[in-house]
């Protein structure tokens, strides 16, 4: 690259970070204002068991930090990780099979899009009936929450390949496996990341709800026990952790995505 070109790129990059900051500014300011309003309001009302102030939530988090971070967060993370990985694996497998066998796609795809509208959270109690208050039950909830998203997104990714590209590869003598691995997989990669980005928060939500239904440990369980004790600040503290956890995972994913999809505009 020429020196001038390099400088231009640097300038463009700086402009970009600058504009990211300015773009996010209104959101940050608005969030701060909301927090201040919340603090003022809860002090004005003066009933911390109904509306705890944000500071008291932080305080509760600090007081119970050992229990939250050493016992409950790892328990939740375990469910999110196992469930998330299994959802991605099984979803990918189904997407690949549907792409390979068109008859399977014709059989499954309509059902898959249709089942996406079922709120899995609401049938979660049924899993308690079948599997009891076990890790297995919670993992299954997380899998079901994400399975369809992964399958449908990834399949759509495979299907988005331009037929001209497939034909071009065929004129070079490529077989189906080569067309799949050299063309369809890379084409579907951005769709795969989209699916992951949707799945991360939903895995966390799914795990928390499943724990809420009943579990020995986990942030959902902790939150629920605080509710039983009318400890509103304690109820909200783990939610703060869950949100931070999901945001962190998404940021990490974003970094990986930029690495892997380096070739995108």
């Amino acid at each position: 690259m020429t020196r001038a070109g390099y400088k231009q790129d640097r300038a463009a990059a700086e402009r970009k970070t600058y504009s990211t900051v300015t773009r996010q500014m209104p959101g940050v300011i608005f969030l701060c204002m909301l927090l201040i309003l919340w603090q003022v309001l809860s002090q004005a009302i003066g009933k911390p068991y109904l509306l705890p102030s944000p500071l008291s939530v932080l305080e509760s988090l600090w007081e119970n930090r050992r229990e939250i971070f050493l016992v409950h967060l790892p328990a939740t993370m375990e469910v999110v990780a196992i469930g998330g990985v299994l959802a991605v694996l099984s979803g990918s497998l189904f997407a690949i099979l549907m792409d390979w066998f068109p008859w399977l796609k014709r059989a499954l795809y309509p059902i898959l899009t249709w089942t996406q509208t079922i709120p899995v959270m609401c049938i979660a109690p049924a899993f308690v009936l079948w599997f009891g208050y076990t890790v297995k039950m919670r993992v299954i909830v997380v899998i079901l929450v994400n399975f369809f998203t992964v399958t449908v997104n990834l399949y759509d990714g495979f299907a988005s390949v331009r037929p001209e590209r497939i034909e071009l590869m065929r004129t070079y003598g490529a077989d189906r496996l080569q067309i799949f691995s050299m063309l369809k997989m890379p084409t579907a990669l951005p769709y795969f990341f989209t699916a992951l980005r949707i799945s991360i928060p939903w895995s966390v939500i799914g795990a928390a709800v499943a724990e809420w239904l009943g579990a020995q440990n986990g942030l959902g369980t902790y939150s629920r026990s605080c509710m039983m004790n009318l400890d509103a600040a304690g109820l909200l503290a783990p939610l703060l952790v869950l949100t931070a956890f999901a945001l962190l995972m998404n940021a990490l994913l974003g970094m990986i995505e930029r690495r892997v999809l380096y070739w995108q505009e």
Binding site: R162, E164, R165, E167, L168, M169, R170, T171, Y172, G173, A174, Q178, M182, L183, P186, L189, W263, Q264, E265
Partner: protein, 250 residues
Amino acid sequence: MLCFEHVSFTYPGSEDAIFRDFSLRAEKGGFISVIGESGSGKTTLFRLLNGLEQPQEGSITIDGTPIPEKKNFASYMPQQDLLFPWLSVEQNVMLPMTIRKQPKELCRKKALEMLKKVGLAGWEKRYPRELSGGMRQRVSFARTLCAGGELLLLDEPFSALDSITRISLQEWLRDQWNHLEKTILFITHDVEEAVFLSEKILVLTGRPVTGLTEFEVPLPRERTREMLLRPDIAELKEQLIALLRSEATE
């Protein structure tokens, strides 16, 4: 020698035949342009040659061997460059060889050689998004060369480019062909482009296509744009345009 004999073809599931009892002979080593109005079947002609479609009747042979038995004789360059954005320029050019599982070092060497040929030495590690439209077409041409066929099938390779880039690529392609031992079949809409580039012009006639009209271009091997102003060339262009027009109004 490329030979179509009494070829009839209809797309599966379609009513209208594209070719009916169509025959064509083309010598080795020429630069032959194919023109015809839009939708007349030019791309279909290439698809038949590629083996992407099979004719319902008739035969297509190269030096007497039917196409299904020939391998890698034709390299197809599509209308859009269709470069893979996740592959570097070099990897894109190597693609046909990678698919044939040729040794990596050989592929790389060949790709570099081809990139040098198309004037893109030093660009091998870049990605397609960093290239201009004209450069992308040249990469696509290098990839076509890497596919190794003796017959190059170029389907309107310059139609998406602006006129200046287009003119310079035409001159460039003509120059390439002068140094390559290849037969080129070149599809275009553009009469001037056909005249400037080729030794012979085929106009597809009839709908479905039943035959063709051949024109020899009386220009020397080394040619310049100014020669297009010669009276005999101007007359040839007029003839071609008149023929295309009468085809279009039929």
